[in-house]
Amino acid sequence: MSIIPKKHEMPTQSPVLRSRNFEEVALGYDEETAVSEAERCLNCKNQPCVTGCPVHISIPDFIAQIKTRNFEGAYQTITRSSSLPAVCGRVCPQESQCESKCTLGIKFEPVAIGRLERYAADRHNNALQSEIQKPEPNGHKVAVIGSGPSGLTCAGDLAKKGFAVTVYEALHTAGGVLVYGIPEFRLPKKIVAKEIESLKALGVSIETNIIIGRTLTVDELFDMGFEAVFIGSGAGLPNFMGIPGESYKGVYSANEYLTRSNLMKAYLDDPVTPIMKHGKVAVVGGGNVAMDAARTALRLGAEKVYIVYRRSMEELPARKEEVEHAMEEGVEFRLLTNPVEILGFHNPDVPRDERNGFVTSMRCIRMELGEPDEKGRRRPVPVEGSEFEVDVDTVIIAIGTSPNPLIKSTTDGLEVNRRGGIIVTEEGLTSRAHVYAGGDAVTGAATVISAMGAGKTAAKAIMKQFGIE
């Protein structure tokens, strides 16, 4: 049998249609496409794809099960390693992880592992749910701080072993970045809600509106009888550029913009939380968050949306599919461009002019790539005298986030690095006994899957602490 050289295409909503609605963009494979894609897998003995997966899913095994139409079996294989398969199938950067190691990828396109993972998960979630068996309690209590990907993973793994797990969430809804950050059109909220429901069915208790570091402290959690604590509080603090004009009205951090739209549902027709919807929007940055913000802006009704990024297409850190989708939808890429100042409206004669203080434009400078930096990426350097202005009404700053200092500042003996990331051992243990940490709170802004991997590692270490296999 000859090998199909390309991945089966993912059916999507047409760019024209989807750029004005918040429905999911990628529609998912149907059964025949999934089986046919699974048949492309060579089932290599050395399983290189598994080494590319931060949580080491038995990829060839679940693909073989899809091949034989044992879809529930495939789902079970995935969940042995991943607590959030429907999420990862959608948001993992597969091209730089599992799929980058695929043997087929040497000559052809790699197997569409992510799409198959999503298929197995969606198929399971859409089927009638079998009753989840609550494991026998093992008598140990663990507190998890934050209900994002690392916290949910850690909680799920521990609950499966009979730990009594309580997850504390500062916001009013569980899910962390999966609900406040990643937009509906890329990760529907009902999928996150479903994953959280299955954790609850396992016995995990989720307490919202509790800010650890304020409402309760880590030390109080131990006083309350918890024997171990996992900190998965994420990288909440948005970075700004430090250029003039960042306080004008219309300048948002990507966190604020996305939170208003996603968590607070400002995209609805008659929202209770406001957001600037019209005019021209510039998004500064080139990561997934920047793509999410740009595509959200389009859907909110912006007349023009620019991605402003200081390096070139090659260095763009966003997931490839998101960049392609953004381009198809009409986002304009202004590459090798860096903002130097944001300008605002001033009517010196009428101080009460309602337009005063709103963004009018952004001054940028062209960049060229110079010598590689310590990470091997070519450093962008400004081209002298190349400054120009772009008319914009909204500027969204998506240049990364830093770990939130709230827990650090209220927990004695918890050591952090220069960037505010919590310092942990390979097993996820912090400088405090029985306190573990993982995800963006440790690494600074990274991916959903690496946070899940860290949650898993810590769960394993916590099990070891109590001698549970």
């Binding site: 500062a170 916001l171 009013h172 406040y180 919202t208 509106n209 509790i210 800010i211 304020r214 409402t215 309760l216 909440g236 603090l237 948005p238 700004f240 430090g242 960042e246 306080s247 009205k249 948002y252 951090s253 966190n255 604020e256 939170t259 208003r260 607070m264 549902k265 008659d270 209770v272 939380t273 406001p274 309602e354 005063n356 203080g357 939130n404 200092p405 709230l406």
Partner: protein, 285 residues
């Protein structure tokens, strides 16, 4: 869900709600705030804590009916519930080690100024209070302030009660007569706080201001509440929710803060009208 225990109308537009939130009540200190949502589709709105009672497990907030959310909140009666109530947020006001302080509250800001005045008093400070309102029918907490102040002045813009004028007038008078304060603490409309800073400037009396910018999460995540400080010729960005809400009044860029707080005025006006219409329709039915 968080139960309303008590409700009291302090005047025509200002209401106090006592809400059951034992974990918040245990921790809350003067100057801190909470974030609440009235119902499941509601916006997140910050309110400063007026009182916390750890024994009763309750936290009280005082608010003026200004927008859609406060209008909905004002409809709630004891025994009813609100969806979300999170806190305490922000850094508590530092009320320790001061011998003589002047507390200046304006309008509904007095609801925050009062627990701060009480905390200073409890820590042994001599407390001068100046509170101001637009007119007689908008006055709140007059007796409570009098009870915790060594010197007490009350102002109305239209002279319908107390002294005629704004809160800066007695301040300037006292400072001019040689009054010495270790600190002036002011809570109220941004414009008022700006003028308090200007009034105190010639005397170099330290002024602490309690900022109330627009915010969403209250934990440092969105950065919407950022304020600019001018310190030694440098611009410093701080988040009011985690670095504040109290700041050195001389450093705050008030013009920027005032402008930023007006970002959504059109939206808020429309949302308020819609809510009023909705409530009216419900009453008619």
């Amino acid at each position: 869900m968080y139960r309303i225990i008590n409700r009291k109308e302090l005047n025509r537009t200002v209401t106090m709600l006592e809400i059951e939130a034992p974990l918040v009540a245990r921790k809350a200190k003067a100057g801190q705030f909470i974030i609440l949502r009235v119902d499941d589709d509601g916006e997140r709105v910050p309110f400063t804590i007026y009182n916390a009672d750890p024994e009763r497990g309750t936290v009280s907030v005082i608010f003026q009916v200004l927008g859609a959310t406060t209008k909905k909140l004002d409809q709630k009666r004891p025994g009813e519930y609100i969806s979300d109530f999170a806190g305490p947020l922000g850094i508590a006001t530092n009320t320790e080690g001061k011998k003589r302080v002047c507390i200046i509250g304006g309008g509904v800001g007095c609801a925050i100024a009062l627990p701060i005045a009480r905390a200073f008093r409890k820590n042994g400070a001599h407390v001068t209070s100046i509170i101001g309102f637009r007119s007689r029918e908008l006055i709140i907490l007059r007796n409570e302030f009098r009870a915790c102040s060594d010197v007490f002045r009350i102002m109305t813009d239209d002279g319908s009660y107390g002294e005629h004028g704004n809160v800066c007038m007695p301040l300037v008078e006292m400072l001019g007569a040689g009054a010495q304060f270790d600190e002036i603490m002011t809570v109220g409309p941004m414009m008022m706080m700006k003028f308090v800073v200007e009034a105190a400037r010639p005397y170099r009396t330290p002024v602490t201001v309690s900022m109330n910018p627009i915010m969403i999460d209250g934990t440092g995540m969105c950065g919407g509440c950022r304020v600019t400080l001018h310190r030694n010729g440098e611009r410093i960005t701080k988040f009011a929710c985690v670095d504040g809400p109290d700041f050195n009044g001389y450093e705050i860029d008030f013009d920027e803060a005032i402008s930023r707080n007006r970002m959504y005025v059109d939206f808020e006006r429309r949302a308020y009208e819609n809510t009023c219409n909705l409530l009216r329709k419900r009453e008619e039915l």
